[in-house]
Symmetry: C2
Subunit: 384 residues, 2 copies
């Protein structure tokens, strides 16, 4: 045995220090102590009967959150992007094409994922021409972000699923930024694949992603000719691990992140306690209160159409004469509070504020309004 | 807005209950309170300067653990399987082939992953014919599991990297079950890609996977003609998020599991405190002590060659006349202690005991020996 040549790093001899701060950006949001503590429970095996019970709890919680009876409902061991790839990898076969509504960064990313394993088309203004595009491109899958957190737009969903089905196309919805904060009914709205993240309205740490597949989606997935590119995200394996395939026993697939499952379960229990409709209602009312406060300060909302405003993530037109980075930095430094700039197509154009889950309260809204007022007074303003 | 039709599940109205148990199976292992508590720190943003510092700490800890100077060193946001796919997805292009040493389940899985995106060949007894296979198949990548936790074999690594390089082949090593518990020198041994998991010797919860890439591996990866199939695991994006690409700023890729990063950092800090060589030494001594205890009870070790025994996971020949499931069930029920049966090729043939990280102690070994003795006395034995 030879000696080690790479010495132990000094930086790891210092203790871990994590600041407390108000997480009012587009996510992750603050995690209440109850949910953090759930995640600090001892590790048990990823194949123990107790973890299967916890996974069954999670499954029923997601069915409630998604308003679906789908048996094929589970949480992916990863973040929203992992769920996005899980949806696309399983449904798209070589030769299939994907149509994505590009109304912000998420549509772009879905299109990029689809391109890596097959063809894709982008639809910039899909409301008008969706049926034409479905007819022309005959996609296997249509992607839409319900809550586009980059632009602050909440997209209506009614009727789209039915239209897709007319053209034998599956309807895939990203609800990472919206779920639990805005009404959504997976089954009634004909959504075939729906996913979200743990770290937004659910207030769990990032690292797990609820996802559900309709019977129609399963029909396509389980009659594929080729295997999906990913073993880790292969739904036939995941379905077995989550007890969704009707088999008597579960086979080892991967080591589930058990402590992240504890937190996710607790976050779903919190939602069940409040009730889904109450949560939607609270997010809507707090958003309206916050928006009125912004407008009374003379700030402008980026999304003009009131009905198209996402109740969870608000985009504010970047105040004229200021560098937006000065504002977010000032607020972080002075108020220990995160709000963020734009993302993708909205970079430089907006400030983004997320009030999600426990953070969706008048108290939090007031904190952001006070911080913004303070920043506008103290940040450098150029003479326009 | 219509009413919800899927009611809140009653099962989520019950509190979360997680049992404490001794995790002496092949992983996950017990997580010390210090590491669990680190993970219960408040969530901060995945793009905050403080998380970048924590990620830098992790990076330097992995460099020490792997004994590498590779700049391209980071943790994947997922389990060992995610790291395995990260390695294969990034290095293998259409037309490339992969050679895997199949000495247990991990080689099979790597081969399956490679097949999903291209060709692969399995090598059953690679020691003798590796150079022939390299010459014949001209693989882009050769996969070997250092610690085969399904069979309990520790595979020697010296010389293989150099042989691979002679044939312009990258050397990929899975060290999920061995790292920190058995000597390994990434740079000296010419390993091009190395990964491990958080939940074995490191004693962190499952959910993150350290990985590192040599200059040679990066040369191939960053000169690909096609993009890897996965956006989430694309090394050019991950490299930027982990500050390994020399760019001044980091771009949003995915929402890193920040609390899992806290735990991983803490587990690396524990390793730095003990020292890598001390950890190797402790695992080796405890394993030898445990093996002597097993043999003195009349049990047989599955791996005959003493030098080929994995110090972290021990495979015991399933005791004759017993149903192995009766033994593991009895020990779980009576001693609140996990040991497991075989996996893949070793199902039905062995019992597996993992003593990893903090669990690698004479005290734990004694607990397992006492539990086994008790089980052999009380479990049903057929008349042979």
């Amino acid at each position: 045995m030879s000696a080690v040549s790479v010495p132990p790093p000094k930086r790891l001899q210092k203790p871990l220090v994590v600041p407390h701060r108000h997480m009012f950006g587009p996510g992750p949001s603050n995690v209440p102590p109850r949910i953090l503590e759930a995640g600090a429970n001892p590790v048990i095996g990823h194949m123990h009967p107790e973890i299967f019970e916890i996974m069954n709890d999670i499954k029923s919680g997601i069915q409630y959150l998604f308003q679906t009876q789908n048996n094929m409902t589970l949480a992916v061991s990863g973040t929203g992007h992992t769920a996005m790839e899980c949806a696309i990898f399983n449904t798209v076969e070589p030769g299939d094409s994907v149509l994505t509504a590009v109304n912000g960064i998420w549509g772009e990313r879905a299109a990029e994922m689809a391109e890596r394993i097959g063809g894709s088309w982008r639809l910039s203004d899909h409301c008008l021409i969706l049926s034409q595009a479905l007819l022309k491109y005959r996609p296997a899958l249509f992607f839409l972000a319900h809550g586009e957190s980059s632009t602050g737009v909440l997209h209506p969903l009614d009727g789209i699923g039915q239209l897709c089905h007319k053209y034998n196309c599956l309807f895939l919805v990203d609800s990472v930024a919206s779920l639990g904060g805005a009404p959504l009914y997976m089954d009634k709205q004909g959504i075939d694949i729906l996913y979200t993240g743990s770290q937004k309205v659910l207030n769990a740490p990032p690292g797990t992603a609820p996802i559900s597949f309709s019977e129609r989606a399963c029909q396509k997935i389980f009659n594929r000719k080729s295997k999906p590119v990913s073993f880790f995200l292969d739904l036939s394996w995941l379905a077995n691990y989550w007890g969704c395939d009707g088999k008597a026993s579960r086979t080892y697939h991967h080591t589930g992140p058990v402590t992240a499952f504890y937190s996710l379960r607790e976050s779903l229990a919190v939602l069940v306690e409040e009730g889904l409709e109450n949560s939607w209602d609270r997010h809507q009312k707090v958003a309206e209160y916050f928006h009125r406060g912004l407008e009374s300060m003379g700030l402008k909302l980026f999304v003009k159409d009131i009905k198209a405003r996402l109740p969870t993530v608000t985009t504010i037109v970047a105040p004229r004469g200021y560098n937006w980075k000065d504002i977010t930095s000032y607020i972080m430094k002075t108020h220990n509070l995160e709000i963020s700039g734009g993302l993708g197509p909205s970079v430089g154009l907006v400030l983004r504020v997320g009030l999600m889950g426990r953070n969706s309260s008048k108290h939090s809204a007031d904190m952001v309004l006070a911080a913004l007022k303070d920043a506008l007074q103290h940040c450098h303003k150029s003479k326009v």
